[in-house]
Amino acid sequence: MTNFFLYITVVLLLFFGVATLLFKRNLIKIVIALNILESGVNLFFITLAFKNDATAPIFTLAPDLAELKMVLPTPQALILTNIVIGFATSALMLAFAVLVYRNNKTLDIRKLKGIEIHD
């Protein structure tokens, strides 16, 4: 039962991420929300990989057990990739946000919409 908390945490992280994406209007805040969304997905994968009474999938550190029991390695590999991708994406989005600010002197989506119509 206690371990179910992990899933709940994942759901809440995703929920907060999506809610912020929908209701906040600051471009940088949106990037933070995306990062939280990605953290939620990452935690979800790692939670899926977890196995009770198992060791990390590294033989160097594993104790000498009669039956080999390790957590699943694939999700960990995928998440390694996804973390770097998430970092790269957020860096690019922040660069865009900086340029938007240079051109329009605002980071608010509502004001940016007004600029679009007038130009």
Partner: protein
Amino acid sequence: MTDNFPVLIIALPLLVAFILPIVSRAGVKPRNILVFLVILAVNIMLLSLVPEVMIRGKILYSVIGSADPARVVPEGLTFPVRIVLRVDGFSLFMALLSGFFSLVCFIFSLRFIPEHGRKNYYVLLFLLMMTGMLGLEFTNDLFNFFVFLEILSISGAALVSYRTDRSHPPYAGYKYLLVSTIATSFFLLGVALCYAQYGSLNMEYIHRFMNHTLLDRMALVFMLAALAMKAGAAPMHMWVPDTYSEAPAPVTAMLVISSQASLYGLFRICFTLFGNPISRDTINYHTLGWIIIIMGVLSMFVGVTMALVQHDVKRLMAFHSVSQTGYLLMGIGVGVAVYTLNDGGAAYNSYGRVAMAGGIFHIMNYSISKGLLFLTAGVMFRRFGTCDLDRMTGMAHRDTVTTAVFIIGALAISGIPPFNAFSSKLLLYESVYRFSPVLSIIAMFVSVLTLASFTKVFYSAFLGPCRSDILVDEEPLPAGMIAGMTIMAAAIIVTGFLPSHTLNLLVDPAISGLVTIF
């Protein structure tokens, strides 16, 4: 000989892209020649796969990193353990289209994009965008699909905001990247749900063991929503006009085909991942088909009505892309709806397959003619320095070639007989009429409206007096741009006059590749 081609098609452009920053220092010419050669090489490799895949109907596999590449599944196992590339009719069809588009758009952008220090990065991103599309179309692995989707969206977003000196493009790029990142995150969530149940990421393997549990349906919803968002279907189309109108013309043409790549992903998910015919009773595939059809009809209607009121030529064309995406969704949706009907495949054989043929044929026709129209919009922008239709006049006096190809493209996309989209639209109307007459009538109505709005563009931009005082650029068009547009127009005419050959050679193998799994 052709064993390594599927992986080379992806790896060769990557290699060139990685050494391009160093080559660029040697000058403009070596860079352009190198990139042109690699795009050409990719196209030649794709064409050399045609006899085997399209004509003989073989499915090529390429297991990356395996000691025994002939085996997809290692001996004694039931599942693949490595990333597998799969080239079947449908993926090759889409890849051919992407390769052709990349070649034409690259030729067009050689002189269209002015030479500048940033052009080095433009060429690099362009190459990687092509690679992203090809990778997406060839891979048979869900996570690898996600990675290529990410490559595609990042390069697309950066290219959209190429004109950083203007105030909108960075915001358009931000929007595109935001939408793509949300879409890919939810796609990854769907992948997680699939992985949690089947312990594998290979599409064919998951297809074989598909149980259609509640979780599977949820994964399907997540993936479907994500890819429809990326393709710009109706409820999630808000990013399309901004992005398409701010990008430089060749990039917009590439964005059109990259949306088609996302649609390809959607169809793959529907058929290859979830379309297990064994479980016809367990999932209500009919409902899924109707969801796709409703999305399509909504896209058609919203797109075309919004397009009618636009004054910006690129925004108008962007809304048209939304409406044309609706046709594709409708065709495939009818196919999905009848594919798993419990009537022994009677409905599927009599009209479902025809509807799918119309949809897939329309992917090709629509993207070529819409790409051509976006390229002509680029010429308009070059001439008048604006995309506002009210400030354009008299292009027909000066640019006869552009006028001619614009007429061809506009007539083609409205489904006027001698050109290519006529045949695909006819297939769609006929087959969809047998499924549900109302849908067919809506489709015809939308087609008429399309013609109406392009008449408006033609009237305001091409006809009228020729005024040289509002022209920004009076020089004759460079040969590269004319060549690019002419190749596209030629493709329209050739496929328009040989519809049955195109259907037999390209579209039929594509459908077989989509519905046959092993």
